[in-house]
Symmetry: D2
Subunit: 260 residues, 4 copies
């Protein structure tokens, strides 16, 4: 892949994708798929020095950015840097779970208020910040052949569909992301920006160093019983290419054997 | 396209698609897209002698079948004929609106009970009959490379999402289809059969003889303000190819400018 | 309670309640509560010669009517008889499950089509027929002090909220009732008729001859782990009395220990 | 009303209600209804020195508390004071809209991030803080005759049901409250605590000084076209008294003429 460093002065017709929240699962799969398809791709993470991201940089030219997406100024800076380096984004994926370690499995009486607020900020508030910057830039994009100026996708979770017990903070965060996505969709779609909310209603099994696909808590994938992030990335790409006469707002993805 | 007449004795790896409910909109678009992609395709309609279907037969080898899908015996016969002619289906689309002419716009006090029952039979009950035959056959299919035995897609409408005033019969029918689709998805997905409900939340503008895209009551399409059946067909194909680790059950499609 | 036989010639300000679908559970509880509160009450059932109904007649003057609510002419006759005997109804409850015995637990491939259609007719179509007659009559009612002309309540079930596996016919029927109720609510509420859908998301434990509360399949009630029909009736009465500035359309009732 | 000052040492069987978020609408109506029904009642507000609250104190003995409900320590202190003054609460209402003035009508690109975060904190995070304190205390309550230890009610809004354009912050906040309420309901109901989410899908018309009922932006109430807070309070009381065999989690209230 060639360096996309000059795209700011010489606008390209190539798609520019920014993935916010960077790890070895959905983000890496998206970056790989988008880059292989010819997009300029950036990935932002609090800590982008993960081997999977470094590898994507080396092999596919994916740009890495450091960003705490819960900080307004940091998100503004991130988008400015992406515009400078890659061009104005046409595809933005918000892919942040946002739960702080101490909040998992805490009942309503036990949850630490500061952790609840941190989870809300990391997840829902960062989704707003990323969505806002994306909206500001995309509105100025030239419509593509489909009449579309861009696509904004929010990765979401089962907790967006159902508030589980002992999981109030995450239920709040995921529901808030859904509400934001809906509001943005109703506002931005008529302006040519496709907004989608994609709750993954399952554990995600990403490829480990030993080649197996697994989830930290749910164990190793057997018979596709966990969501494959490469397949999630494909759905995201389809959403990006979807014709504006038939835009999907919400797609819930779950493995064939999942109970729901 | 070659005649697929011998597929019953010599099973093919080619997909076999059956579209029930045949007109110039979604059904024709599906038949065209599926056939061009190499599937054996059958289309069933009460009256399959429509020029658009005859044309698909001539140009792409799409088989036409006569079937009143609200009759159990007729649906059973249809599937038997398809198996004989094309092979066991791997992709079945139920694409029947089902409203009888006199039911449109009738308030609860005015609706004729026999028309309400006819609408329920044409739409929801036929969906059951088609889904049942599809399930019976697909369960015996050999899993494909994705581990899937088949895909069953129900076209649905805005009335599946919201019961509109003066539209009780259609609200009943569309909600019933959603309930059926959900029940089938929970039952059949773990058996390797992908079931999807696709409410089109808009008027559908299909290509008229003069080349414009239009809807009988909503007029001519302007700036993609109606759902394009060719694009709906693409989503159906994507659902069929979706990996079983990440199956979508429901996808609502609406134009970018639609109010919802 | 005095015989309400002359109310047709001498209109009363007393509420007239009709409960369609009559058994020892919700219907009996409603009839008892409404009659004790001073309403004229009728109960219709295919077979109204059940001891619990005969007892309500003797002790509280509740009128019993024979009616197959899936038959348009029978439902029309029922309402005419009620108007003649009790006056025009101001509160109508549709309380029919509608499943035929052979449909329980049948998978999509096994369900008998004629039983699926019978279930749809018994449940959703009868709801339409009852709703239609109620709407026709109530529109002519004089508004009460709350500005309301009447209340129509549909008892519904968990299957209205979720399509369970091996339960497609009931999922269709219950979803259809929800769609109908929604359509009627949007149409009739602005005309002064309160329409409500009440899914009972649990087994209902009604009082047996030995005094225990139990459900045929789910066993005996322990610690209020099943819905008590007397309490359901109270919610119905509250809905009927609810001020038109704050009408609830849907209320899901479930026991405190129910999983959902 | 007598001063309830000694209830901490001498537990009373009277209900203790705390309403968080205090103004002339739902809060005042609840306080009035609950106090008239014999409960000890407290109302907390950032500024409790409003004439309507002072009046409730004088006439009905309602206690006023100063509390910024978005501050963990303040909420903890509030509940401690209520326990000391009135006893452990058995009915807690969270009734805070939470929007800061500058956020109304702002599109996604225009909304000030600090105002978005403030709205989230005021509304959803305060709901968590109030819910947490309520849960901690109620779990230790003695079950009442209904087997219930208490009731927690969240007032919510249309934005909980639908994310409206140019209203992203409020959509986030209201959806988050719904998610929290759901999670709490699934966790606490089996512990004997009734949790309810009550979206008011309409403007609320509360009684003005001149006796009319009106809404700041929507004007004067005509023919009950706005939700009457006195009627909302009645529904809250019914939820509190609802038998645990049939608890409603969500009740959406809207005027008869509201579009939805």
């Amino acid at each position: 892949m060639t360096e996309p460093g000059t795209t700011d002065t010489q606008p390209s017709d190539r798609d520019v994708a920014l993935i916010v929240g960077g790890g070895p699962g959905i983000s890496a799969s998206c970056a790989r798929l988008f880059a292989k398809g010819g997009m300029f791709v950036g990935v932002a993470a609090r800590n982008p020095d993960k081997s999977v991201l470094e590898n994507l940089e080396k092999t596919l030219g994916v740009r890495r950015y450091t960003c705490d997406a819960s900080e307004p100024a940091a998100v503004e800076r991130l988008f400015a840097n992406v515009v400078r380096d890659l061009g104005a984004p046409t595809l933005v994926v918000h892919n942040i779970d946002g739960r702080v370690p101490g909040i998992f499995g805490k009942g309503i009486a036990e949850a630490d208020p500061s952790m609840v607020l941190a989870t809300l900020r990391n997840s829902a508030f960062s989704a707003f910040l990323v969505g806002q910057q994306a909206a500001r830039l995309m509105r100025k994009n030239k419509p593509n052949a489909n009449g579309a100026k861009g696509t904004i996708i929010f990765t979401n979770a089962s907790a967006a569909l159902k508030g589980y017990p002992s999981s109030g903070a995450f239920a709040m965060a995921c529901h808030a992301k859904s509400g934001l996505a809906q509001s943005m969709a109703r506002e931005l779609m008529p302006q040519g920006i496709h907004v989608a909310n994609v709750p993954i209603d399952a554990a995600i099994g990403w490829t480990q160093e030993d080649g197996t696909r697994a989830h930290r808590r749910a164990g190793t994938t057997v018979d596709d019983n966990m969501a494959d992030p490469d397949c999630i990335a494909e759905t995201y790409l389809q959403l990006h290419h979807q014709h504006r006469s038939t835009w999907a707002f919400e797609v819930v993805l779950r493995p064939w054997v999942e109970k729901w």
